[in-house]
Symmetry: C2
Subunit: 307 residues, 2 copies
């Protein structure tokens, strides 16, 4: 099993990772990235196999195609990306082949850019002893630095992930999908909405060791603004739903936080499937151009940092 | 990869499964089971490798030990169990070895007792195209009949699972863990609690093809009673948290629904780790005895059905 064997080997990247790991809290590492990259772009490696171009799939196994595609995306975006976010479902769908490709991808990030955090977009929200099992799977086996969870079961879901302070937890406070409002926007007796309570807990009692932060969807600008007000200007805020999901960048106005560097904006399909060309060089150019364009628009909105 | 190769083979069990699959809706199958087994017991195969007895682990790989343990539990409980519920984290923790053991377990259930539904306790609540990927993974690759999801993202999480009406969805309306109340019990402006809204949606607008039902925790008896009132006496209700998690059977009083046969009570650790003996025969006896005892207590509460 590749992701068993591989995680035990200790190449130079692994050693660098161990060093970073021992020295730094997750949140410190994450907060530094927008300045390091002069960017707010988080790239989502939601690599739907059916959409990977044929020039990559041809002659390759599913595992090799998934990994080769991701490596190409990372090569073209590593200097623009403050983090990578990976939806595990796009890999576990393929069983061992997919999960091995995912572990190889995470190892490649470690070796190439050990400073860049990798977030597991799993929406798994276990309780009890199962949380520790998910932590071993995602952090040790697959090589993630952070995990994204739903708040439905309360703090029990978060606490075992936070035992190691080099690991972080992102809470889906308000997501970008159409039916997100059904539960998240319910109006409470005290005048708040359900997601506002979640935002308060993320900023307060759930933030057990300072490594918890919030996610919001660009398709609900008012909710995003409220979340920023509640969590304050120092906490990183991860925004999903820009681009193909319908969210516009104007929803991000005024949300960049301290120094204009506390916002992470995820783009998945908008970057990784930006290429239409059926050859390596042109596809790379399209991906890089899409990532650069989004990065520059975000920098302009953040107040021209570093310009 | 065992669970790729295996799922393609068509043994007699597979043929039976295909026949059942073509003929019946998930909910019809599930509702029939309490009468078929004269039982309300759902057995949770949360087979924590570290707790599997040594006489099983000795000389076996992780995959073989997990599968052999599950086969033993199924052999001792198949005639008492109306369903099996499996928390996928206990398997994915071990990578391919664990997931292969899980797929083998599900195939064994198909072959031995094709009438018994198997529920994936994953608490994964995807949205968008990722839902279809999880459906392929859980239903086609791993061989589950139903999936358990959190309601946080609304109906978007459910709808793609329900395309095939031989598959079901269980929604965590109110769970058994201590911090479940943090979000689930928030008081709304209209006097309801958040979980009551979820129960209403499960019984109504989310129940797109009749294959959706509710889960509640025995540690919150008042919430359980409200859920039963809201979803009505015809909908199956799955209860977790009995036994080691602190819920008492008295919490189930009056909740058995139509004919006393609409309640499924899950026990995981209380059954599968009931054995203390370090040999096969005694361990089996302990497991069977624990399952039988719980079954009989539930039957007595349900009004002595079949007695």
């Amino acid at each position: 099993m590749f992701y068993d064997a591989g995680m035990k080997s200790a190449g130079p990247g692994r050693l660098i990772r161990m060093r970073v790991k021992r020295l730094e809290k997750f949140i410190t590492r994450l907060k530094r990235m927008p300045a390091v990259r002069n960017s707010h772009l988080c790239v989502g490696l939601d690599s739907d196999y059916t959409r990977i171009p044929d020039f990559i799939k041809k002659g390759r196994t599913v595992q090799d195609a998934l990994f080769s595609f991701n490596r190409m995306i990372i090569e073209e975006t590593w200097d623009l990306a403050v983090a990578y976010k990976i939806n595990v479902s796009f890999y576990s769908l393929h069983g061992d082949a997919g999960l091995s490709a995912l572990a190889r991808t995470n190892r490649y990030v470690r070796e190439r850019v050990p400073e860049t955090p990798i977030l597991a977009d799993v929406k798994r929200s276990e309780i009890g002893s199962a949380v520790r099992m998910v932590a071993v799977e995602l952090f040790d086996r697959l090589g993630f630095d952070g995990v994204m969870v739903t708040p439905w079961f309360g703090v029990d879901t978060l606490k075992d992930f936070l035992v190691d302070d080099t690991k972080g937890v992102v809470v889906y406070v308000h997501d970008s999908n159409p039916s997100a409002v059904e539960i998240q926007d319910l109006l409470l007796a005290d005048g708040r909405r359900v997601y506002e309570v979640v935002a308060e807990k993320v900023a307060g009692e759930w933030n057990l060791n300072g490594n918890v932060f919030a996610e919001g969807g660009a398709t609900y600008p008012e909710a995003l603004r409220k979340i920023r007000r509640i969590v304050g200007d120092e906490m990183p805020l991860l925004v999903a739903g820009v681009g193909p999901q319908g969210g516009t960048l104007s929803a991000l106005d005024g949300l960049f936080g301290n120094g204009g560097r506390r916002l992470l904006v995820n783009s998945s399909r908008g970057v990784i499937f930006a290429g239409v060309a059926e050859n390596d060089a042109d596809y790379r150019r399209s991906v890089r151009s899409a990532a650069q364009t989004l990065r520059e628009r975000l920098l302009a909105m953040a107040g021209g940092i570093g310009k």
